[in-house]
């Protein structure tokens, strides 16, 4: 019985989170928490002691896992690794930037919206004219 593989479709996936404690608590209450056999979680709680390197490693890990379809990241955390988030171009997992308690959402910093903004910016148009 223990050797039976789990019946799981190829398209079934989970969500990952990189955010503050309260945001992660809320989403864990909603049932998205996952801990694998190696005791690796699908979330990273970011507090004052979390280093940028830890955040980078978590982001890279979550975006490379095949079982993760959406990565939620607080925008202020995304700003710490902005170069990494902006260079991410794959459709799956989808990277969604969400607000946090102390840092409201700013559309100007959103990875996807800033690309669109640049598309219509004067610099972009001027570059084309040259």
């Amino acid at each position: 019985m223990a050797n039976k593989p789990q019946i799981r479709t190829n398209s079934s996936a989970i969500m990952a989170m990189i955010a503050d404690e309260d945001t992660i608590t809320g989403f864990l209450l909603a049932g998205v928490g996952n801990v694998d056999l190696r005791r690796k979680t699908n979330y990273l709680i970011v507090d004052s002691k979390t280093t940028v390197k830890q955040i980078e490693e978590a982001f890279k890990e979550f975006t490379s896992r095949e079982d993760i379809a959406i990565v939620l990241i607080s925008q202020y955390v995304a700003n710490m690794i902005r170069f990494l988030v902006d260079s991410y171009n794959k459709p799956i997992p989808a990277i969604l930037e969400i607000p946090s308690k102390d840092h409201p959402y700013d559309p100007a910093h959103d990875s996807v919206l800033s690309r669109v903004k640049y598309l219509f910016s004067a610099e972009s148009v001027a570059g084309d004219r040259r």
């Binding site: 789990q6 398209s11 989970i14 969500m15 608590t25 209450l29 939620l72 459709p91 669109v116 084309d128």
Partner: protein, 208 residues
């Protein structure tokens, strides 16, 4: 005469010019449509982000109320379940057929694919097959209630990491974040459409 010819070109050149004109006007219309689509998606994305912002804000307030009534030691990250378990709320991702490249995300709330649960379901299924059609019908008619009971059990399981008796505010937090998840999945689908429209507009610019 020369002036007449300049002002009234021959029929052939008029036909060629009008074909080129139609083609270019169609291209321009297509490009404009792509830009309009992009702006529409962006507008809808911003609306959804606003909705997520307000619902998570409500969730944080409810969580703070729960923490106030239950005590900070009873609602904190040290109580998170670190034993191996699969997520109760998952996502179904449809990468699309050959005609479409857009991924489609669907939220599956409170489904459990723990091994024990699967084996239990398998055993139940075997039993119901062996019983006969009348009993099978009775079980089928009871299935919506069973699904609701299962969802309630999974909700209780999620809450139970903070204790058996929890504040109603904590249940409200759970409900609020469940709603937020639905909006986030909508956002993911819209993000995929937005990126596709963005790529289209970029291609149009490059061909111009």
């Amino acid at each position: 005469m020369k002036q007449y010819k300049e002002n009234h070109p021959t029929n052939k050149s008029v036909a060629v010019t009008s074909e080129d004109g139609n083609q270019s006007s169609n291209e321009i219309a297509g490009a404009d449509q792509n830009i309009l689509n992009l702006l529409d998606y962006m507008d809808n994305y911003l609306i959804l982000v606003d909705s997520v912002s307000s619902s998570v804000r409500q969730g944080w307030l409810e969580l703070a109320s729960a923490r106030y009534s239950m005590g900070a030691s009873r609602v904190n990250s040290s109580l998170f379940d670190l034993k191996s378990h699969y997520a109760s709320t998952t996502l179904q991702v449809d990468n699309g057929g050959t005609d479409t490249e857009l991924p489609c995300f669907t939220l599956c709330k409170w489904t459990s694919s723990d091994e024990a649960k699967l084996e239990e379901d398998q055993l139940l299924k075997n039993k119901s097959d062996s019983l006969g059609s009348e009993k099978r019908k009775a079980e089928e008619s009871g299935s919506p209630v069973t699904a609701n009971n299962h969802a309630e059990k999974e909700r209780f399981k999620s809450l139970s990491m903070f204790g058996t008796l929890v504040s109603p505010k904590l249940r409200a937090t759970q409900s609020t974040f469940e709603t937020t998840l639905e909006t986030l999945v909508e956002m993911s689908n819209l993000r995929a459409s937005l990126l596709c429209a963005y790529d289209q507009v970029q291609k149009d610019r490059e061909t111009d």
